[in-house]
Symmetry: C5
Subunit: 232 residues, 5 copies
């Protein structure tokens, strides 16, 4: 089991005071942040998202995938050295592990990037009564839930597991190009039998998939000036 | 379904320290904020509200409507460049999508401005037990609820959907010129059968519909000086 | 119904850093706050309370009553221009409307000042199951509750309604000269049938009724120096 | 009933930035705080506790007892003038009133100091279902609870009442020299019938009873230099 | 019982502004923190953990074990004198006491260091209904829970007791070299009968066991320079 990958969602909110710094300093802070991302991204899956305009409490989110916790730790140490992180708080953070589902044959162990323009992510906890059900009964209930999901092929699920590692049981993530279809799917799923066993599925984050450069640019409306070796 | 519009409620609280800045700086900050609003408002629905005096945790609220998430994102990027946003937090934020109701023939897909002097808005979540009811039973229960609403024709409903996009299921909004009538309506609705299936309907915001200029002026008691091309 | 009055409870916490300012600046800040109060108070009911020593999260509370929301908004705009509000947060805020009770003949529509030395105020929400009861059954249950209240004639009730306007259903307020009698009354009321239908009745604030000058003086232990036209 | 005493628990957290001030300024701030304590303590019960090392959100706690609310208010006004309070927040605050128990003959009306080395204090709320029980039934259930308490004579109970005055119904406080015995008692009490009717009994504070000088010294590791007239 | 040891979990979050200080000042702050740890660690169990990259709200965690509360208090007083603590908040803090389990023969009274590379810790509260069960019934239910744990011998449990001392009943801690195995164990335990009686088991912290030097170095990406007498 040692080859299962960890997936880390890091949500950042930049202190409004950061935008009062002069432009050169902000540009330098963003270049340092970008350099940390490019370093980790050279041999790991790393994706960037902007939440400017969709949430009030988060500006930027990173999803980092790694073969172990130490590499994720190391990435965040390097990230923390960037000027931007000296002005940023992490209002949310989700740590998950890839693991196969007992209810589906879907392959979830292989690292897989988000491809849709939009990512929707939320922490998920089921009631304890759910776990007291017989495994066959849980399997039966989940089939209808999964069938509804399959009616929306443009919406792709990327669930990871957090039992004991973090405050939720699952990190549920969906990507799609069609945000309206995702909303329709979630509303449909409310009426499945499985829905009754949900204890918590908030906060729910609508994220725009963009390059790290664009996510950084959205913080102060200015593009990230190129570093020589990192020019995009 | 691609033509459904997104409706974004952005609640702002200005740092008390902002009011300690000198008047010319504050005036400039407000002009920049206003310019961002006027830019977006040129071809989109954008309305401004003041909460000074009705809430302690919000000063100003914007409702922006757009054909897609990217345009709402872009608006907030531009807004974030204004001086005012360098001193503002967003304590609440609601993202909704227009969608027709399964319980009513009311047309809700077309962008429609708030016209009343007062806007009342709150996030809304129903219990999971509600969704386990048969669709016909839900329809029956909602008819009485809707009928009570129709007894208050001076109160106009503008509900949008948030399933999966944000922490609530619906953003419920009512506008009216008669705040007392709205209170009477809400109290009446408590005794309908539908009321029992409410899980959460707070926080609830009383908002005064005003021009962006007036909402900005209420922050420090001073009018927004005109920018040449934007003089009101 | 247009003549029902709004009652606004505004709770303030002054940043500890404000007390580090020099005495002359603090005196000026308090004079400006007082001037705003005196202006509104000239033709509206406005009362001041100190919570220094009874709560940790509030220092001063104002109750302002007005014929409409716009006048309350305007008062808070003017208040916000005072130096003190440039250092104050509003950790709590309750907006209520006067309305007659369906369970009591008591006259509650006329503006009525608090006269006791102490004011106790809390937001109040009943369970939804309460509202599913028959109106006669609710009336029956409330009679016992009201009868217990009448055994404490030294405690005077001032309830206003917040349905849809704010996060609670009611703002419950009692004034008395005898804080111990109020505690005894609240403990007695726990055993009435009505008590079982309470969903929320906290936070609960113990407030000392004092002049605005005294409430301001309690913030830094120094009296408010007289402004010529406002000398008390 | 006018001679029942109020008991105020004031929990303080000092801004970490305070420890960055120079030593002379900190010493002066602590002397001023101490002077306010000594002034009130001259004719009232006042006890000091340190929570450094037992909680992360509180550094120091004071318990002040007085014949009325006004004297407690006045003490906090004077305390607020000390330099230390210009850098302190009050994350918790409990206001209680002495009152005899309906379940015990224990005398609780007389002011009584804590004598143990450790104080454990928490706010306490019972379920509403408890209060719907018949008074005799409640009395019966409490007898077993009280009997378990008597098996731990080294642990002394000091409960006061907060109905309507503050967010809890009771402020429960125990002092002892044997923290382990207190833990054993609380674990034992979980299995009494009374325990089932508890709605809330957190946060729970472990406090070390020390002199005000020692509690102040623990804030920055330096003793409080003597003021001439107040030298201890 | 006086020889039971207290175990204190102290979680620290360093103000992002600290990383803006110059490198020499940060190095000095870290040396002072390290000196306090080495002083306490000379004759007590003290272990350090980094949470950089696994949580957003904590950077570093210490577990300190002592024969009494006073020694833990004293350690935190000394720690508080370090420069680092002048820029750190303690967002979480758990105080526990070693005590034998009534359900297991496992020896838990003796101080025992964490040996795994990863530590998982969370506060734990059971429902009151659990405590109303007969002791034999509770014993029976726990045996299955314990048996599942034994299937994961690479995961080691270190539970301490907090009844009345802190906000939780237990501080549950597990160390292991295999984070995935721990996740699998926690997921397995959801389906045991005992699981249904859990009231709260969050927040859950994933901690990397490292030397104090490394945990401090992770804060700003720079190693802790040696102090002469403390050179490692």
């Amino acid at each position: 089991m040692s080859d299962r990958h960890f997936v880390k969602y890091t949500f950042l909110k930049v202190d409004p005071a950061w935008r009062r710094l002069d432009a050169a300093e902000r540009a330098q802070h963003k270049r340092e942040f970008l350099a940390a991302c490019e370093d980790f991204g050279a041999d790991h899956l790393l994706q960037s998202f902007s939440l400017v305009g969709t949430r009030g409490d988060v500006d930027l989110m990173l999803v980092a995938e790694s073969e172990n916790l130490d590499r994720i730790h190391e990435f965040h140490v390097v990230l923390g050295q960037s000027g931007l992180m000296k002005w940023a708080a992490q209002p949310y953070s989700f740590l998950g592990l890839r693991k196969g589902s007992e209810y589906s044959d879907e392959q979830r162990l292989v690292p897989r990037a988000f491809r849709g323009r939009y990512l929707f992510v939320y922490p998920f906890v089921k009631t304890r009564a759910w776990y007291a059900l017989d495994a066959k009964e849980r399997w039966r209930i989940m089939q209808d839930h999964i069938a509804v999901g399959r009616e929306y092929p443009q919406v792709d699920n990327h669930t990871t597991y957090s039992f004991g590692l973090d405050d939720q049981e699952f990190v549920v993530a969906f990507d799609t190009d069609d945000a309206g279809a995702f909303l329709d799917l979630v509303q449909r799923l409310r009426t499945t039998e499985a829905s009754a066993w949900t204890l918590r599925d908030t906060p729910s984050f609508t994220c725009l998939r963009v390059s790290a450069e664009r996510a950084l640019g959205a913080l102060d409306g200015e593009p990230v000036p190129a570093l020589d070796p990192l020019a995009s």
